[in-house]
C-alpha cells in the first residue's frame, strides 16, 4: 500500500503508517491528516506532532500516552482530565492511531 504526493511515492502498511520514517515531511503530514479526516492541522496539532517526533528521535520509540498527556498538561496548562480530552478533541481516533500516524512514526505495538 502507499500513496503518491508531489511526484514521490510513499509506502505505508495496511493501517496507513509510513514504512520509511525518514521520508516524512510537512506535506506528508497534511496529506495523512486529510486521510484521517482532520481538516486542518492547527498550532495545537503541531505541538503534539513535534513532541512525538522529538521524543521518537531521542528514544526511538513512541511515548507512553501518559507521558504525552503530561507534556500537554505542561505545555497547555491543563489538568490531567482536560489534557486527555484535548488530545482526543485534536485526534478523535486516538493519539496512537492518528497522531503517531500523522507524525510519521511507526505503528505503536502492544496489546491494544
Amino acid at each position: 500500500m502507499g500513496f503518491e504526493l508531489n511526484g514521490t511515492t510513499y509506502e505505508t502498511d495496511e493501517d496507513g503508517y509510513l514504512i520509511n520514517i525518514g521520508g516524512w515531511n510537512e506535506d506528508v503530514a497534511h496529506h495523512l491528516a486529510e486521510e484521517e479526516e482532520i481538516p486542518e492541522l492547527t498550532e495545537k496539532h503541531w505541538q503534539i506532532i513535534n513532541f512525538l517526533r522529538g521524543y521518537y528521535e531521542e528514544y526511538q520509540i513512541a511515548p507512553m500516552i501518559k507521558i504525552l498527556i503530561k507534556a500537554i498538561m505542561k505545555d497547555m496548562d491543563l489538568s490531567k482530565r482536560d489534557a486527555s480530552k484535548m488530545l482526543y478533541e485534536l485526534y478523535p481516533a486516538g493519539p496512537a492511531k492518528q497522531a503517531c500516524k500523522i507524525a510519521g512514526l511507526p505503528k505503536p505495538t502492544g496489546c491494544v
Binding site: K66, G94, K97, K107, V112
Partner: protein
Amino acid sequence: MSDTPMMDELEKGPWPSFVREIRRAGKQSATARDLINILELSYKDKKTHWKHGGVVGVRGYGAGVIGRYVDDPVQFPGVAHFHTVRVNQTSGFVYNTKGLGEIMDIWDKRGSGMTNMHGSTGDLVLLGTTSEQLDPIFTDISQKGWDLGGSGSDLRTPSCCLGPARCEYACIDTLAITRECTNYYQDELHRPAFPYKFKIKVAGCSNDCVASIARSDLSIIGTWKDDIRIDQDEIANYVKGGGIDIMKEVVMMCPTQCIDFDGTKMEIDNSNCVHCMHCINKLTKALRVGTDQGATILLGAKAPIVEGAMLASVIVPFMKLEEPFENLKELIEALWEVWDEDGKNKERIGEFMERMGKGEFVEAVGEQLADGECGIEMTSQIDMINHPRENPYIFYDEYLEEEG
C-alpha cells in the same frame, strides 16, 4: 478426504465443540468458513497466522476495538480483517431478549455473527469484522443504548456477580457499584492513559463468583463486620433431616476451627472466623451472613507476564459502600494517582506495589487520601508484614543520625 482433517477431529466426541459452532455460523458467513480454514493451516504449520495487533478504532475512542489481520489475506479473504468489538456488558449479565436481539441483528449485518459471551474481562465480545464497518457498528449500537468497553492500557469494563439481584449472600449492591464505576469513569474507560490495564471486579460475598481475587487489579468483595446469624431451630431440622453430617461436613471443615457444635446447638466464635463462607454455604437455611455489611478491598491480582500470577491482597479490610460510593471513588483515584505517577510501561498495579514495597505504597496512597473529602485514613501497619526481614544488613535512620 476433507480439506480440514484436524478440524474434523475436534468435532468428534460427546462434548461441546467450538469447531461445530463456527461451522454452523459458516452456513451463512464466509468469515466463519475461512476462520476454520486458517485454524487448520495454523495447526498444520504449528504457528499462528494472525499478525500481531493492528491499530483500529472508532472516532472519539481510543479503546473498545482490537485489530486483527491474517498474514495471507489473499488465500483467506474472509478473515483478511477480523477485528474484535468489545461491547460493555450489563451489570451482572442481566439482559432482556430484546436487547440481545438488537445486538445480534447489528452483528449479523455488519460482522461475522460470531460472539464470545462473555470475555474474561466481562465484555460482550463481537468477533470478526472489517475496518470499514467499525464506525457504522459504533453508531448502530450507540443508537440502541449500548457502548463499547475498555481495551489497551485503560480501565477495563468493570464487572460483577449477580449480587442482590438473585443472591441472599450479597453484602453489597454489586450491580450499582459496577454501574456507577462504569458511568463515572467513562474517560478512563475509553481513552487509554494508564501505565497498563486496570480491572475492577465486584463480588457480593467471599464466595467470589466472579473470581475477582484472581482476575482483577481492584477486587471489591462484600463482607460483614458483626456475627454470623444462626437459626438454632433450623440447625435442629438439619440434624433431624439427616441429609448432612454437620460435624464432618461443616464443623471439621472450618479453616479456623471456630465452630462449636454439641449435636443440637451451634455456636460460632466470630472473632476467629475468617469469613470463608463454607458453613453458610452448607447450612443455607440455618446460617446467614451478618447484618453490618460492607466490603473488603483487595489490590493487585494479575495473570503472569512480567511477574508470575498474583492473587490480590487486602488494602482496605472493611469499607461501607453506599450510593453514590464517594469513598470508593476517592480510593480508586488515589490508587491511580500513585500508580500513574511512577508506574512503568506495562506494569500492573500489583507489580508496581511489589516493586515499591507495600508499606511505601500504602503511605503514598494515604497521602493522596489525606486531601480527600471522605476522610479516609490509610497508613502502613505492622499487620501487613507477612514475613520478618531476613537480611540483617539494615541501617535504620536513627542509626545514621547517631553516626552523624
